[in-house]
Symmetry: C2
Subunit: 362 residues, 2 copies
């Protein structure tokens, strides 16, 4: 295992070649770390700013060996790393952060909600589902409509469906492919918020100001941050973040999605054990952004400040929206991040823009 | 020739693989541009964040052809690009920014000072020197001591010597190798300042607030910015920058070193036709830093804002000073940039630190 803090010039391994990996690589470069990307994607957008790329499937044993021998610490940019990969890397004697437990918890929605409630981070009521009959039984307790999601995989609104009534149980289970699932009580929340938090190797936890998130078609459309929230809500969110990160013995940055209710109560929707789209506002709104914060954490460096320096509205540029670039590059008080992806497919995140204004004091 | 503004995903070519090339590559990546580095240095620090590297001497015809065919626009990170390289690239039909004229002027100190005075950017008095006899003759006009510098090459205080008297002329000429030179009148300046300015493809010129520079052993030690200067000095500097950049039909960022005298008069010391060490404070002190500004300019994008958001003291980390990293990474209110160079040789710039505090209103 490497000695922490990692010395300048050390090498970080990243599983995944998407925009989060790209922005991690840029942050790592600032601090002199070389980055090795492992991805099955040819010419991935992260590869193009990394020192080296291993082009292979994530569970390719040879590639994992090469990664473990090249890297002083390994991280990932998405939570659906195949089971066993982190165990393999750890067996090869390289540090992985965040660790196997964080992945296991966030990969399975039932495990996740069970963990969250166990560490006093409340969620909506839920039931584990293995059959249409389970749905019917759970509906009595959770009420209808309820949200049926696959236990594993699924992102940006994929792999989920509403169950309208008992009569819909069978069809709903079929709609998600008849795989192990979770049924979640409907949450009549007022807003979706998220907190980006980090935990260092010394156990220190920091949390950025909250973001207020707006989704369209299951995809994050925009984040406004710092969200204007009561101090009660900010404190709850920070307490939740601390409980979750300590509970997972976490190292690195995590995104925690929250439901805020009219009465100021917060429930946790889900944990992303990685840098998070709703934290992109920190790239221009904070002295140390979520990417550098993650690099600092996994390298065993002291965490940086998390205060907001500006009010930011982050808007994702999705699919063909990237074609608006001639107007976007001339926008005053806006900071553009384009990911260098070749093909502007529907629903593909191509970039984002951070529109800036002076800080509001809440 | 490419169409400007360059579309996202276009490719920038950079001559040189040092830290300036590295920080240019990072800025380019933010805006989705791929970077191809041409450098003779194996595993250069810029290569490690670039999409591709051509490992060759700068005047290697095949490499220049490959660069010209890969890149939509080409720039450089140092001014001593061999004569003919830019002409070769332009002949190959690729845009080079800034152009051949800017390089020619800045590569030859006599040409440079002649140009500067012609565009009403005053310098110290000087004389072209081709022999010890020329030195003797010039001393009568310029006074002793006077500063003898090689016309070409030389940086960080190398290739220059003081001529103390007529008796010293022969020895001084020998000390700089008996090559074509310039003799400069001694400037009894109060401070060294610099202005980082940019000119876009549409002719727009912007200038960052001035930096106050402190050198040690001929190497930049620290820059304080924005320098506290009179509005008269700031205006003079902006006027000088505009005259120089317009005079050169410049595209990109330039660093202009200035001498400030007690009476508020400014003389130009020299022009660097590239991003400049004394502009590193903009990385954390401005919304758009000099590297992104250069990328925007050469890509034909609108220039970004240049206002300072904070007071910055930039300190270079030179040679073994990098060994102070365990303390530096924990410094509050400081932002660290480490260049990922392997060997901490004497005088080698290994990184810099930007120490931040709230803006002073001058």
């Amino acid at each position: 295992m490497a000695d922490f803090p990692l010395a300048p010039g050390s090498t970080l391994g990243v599983l995944g070649g998407g925009q989060l990996g790209r922005m991690l690589a840029l942050a790592a470069a600032r601090l002199s770390f070389d980055v090795v990307i492992l991805t099955p994607e040819l010419d991935s957008c992260a590869s193009r700013v990394a020192a080296r790329t291993l082009l292979a499937e994530f569970n390719d044993e040879q590639a994992l060996k090469a990664l473990a021998s090249a890297a002083d610490v390994i991280t990932f940019e998405f939570e659906n790393v195949p089971a066993g990969v982190v165990e393999t890397l750890e067996r090869l004697g390289v540090a992985v952060a965040p660790g196997a437990r964080s992945l296991a918890v966030s990969q399975d929605r039932v495990e996740e909600k069970t963990f969250l409630n166990a560490c006093r981070a409340a969620t909506v009521d839920f039931a584990a589902i293995d059959s249409a009959a389970d749905i019917s039984a759970a509906l009595d307790r959770l009420g209808a409509p309820a949200l049926l999601k696959t236990r594993r995989e699924g992102y940006d609104g994929k792999g989920q469906t509403w169950v309208e009534s008992h009569a819909d149980a069978e069809a709903a289970f079929a709609r998600i492919g008849g795989v192990p699932a979770i049924l979640e009580a409907r949450a009549e929340f007022a807003r979706e918020l998220s907190v980006i938090a980090a935990r260092g190797r010394n156990g220190e936890v920091v949390a950025y100001p909250l973001g207020e998130n707006h989704h369209e078609n299951g995809i994050l459309r925009r984040t406004r941050a710092p969200a204007i929230v009561s101090s009660h809500v900010q404190e709850q969110a920070e307490a939740i973040a601390a409980r979750v990160l300590i509970g997972l013995d976490y190292v690195g940055v995590a995104g925690i999605e929250l439901f805020e209710f009219e009465d100021g109560r917060l429930l946790v929707n889900e944990i992303a054990p990685r840098v998070h789209n709703s934290g992109h506002w920190t790239l221009d709104g904070c002295e140390v952004d979520q990417f550098e914060q993650h690099v600092r954490a996994i390298a065993g460096w002291p965490l940086g400040p998390v205060a907001a320096l500006a009010q930011v509205e982050m808007e994702n540029l999705i699919g063909a929206e990237i074609d608006r670039w001639p107007a976007l590059i001339g926008e005053a008080d806006a900071r553009l991040w384009l990911y260098g992806k070749d093909e502007a497919r529907d629903g593909r995140k191509m970039g984002h823009i951070n529109r800036m204004r002076p800080l509001e004091r809440g």
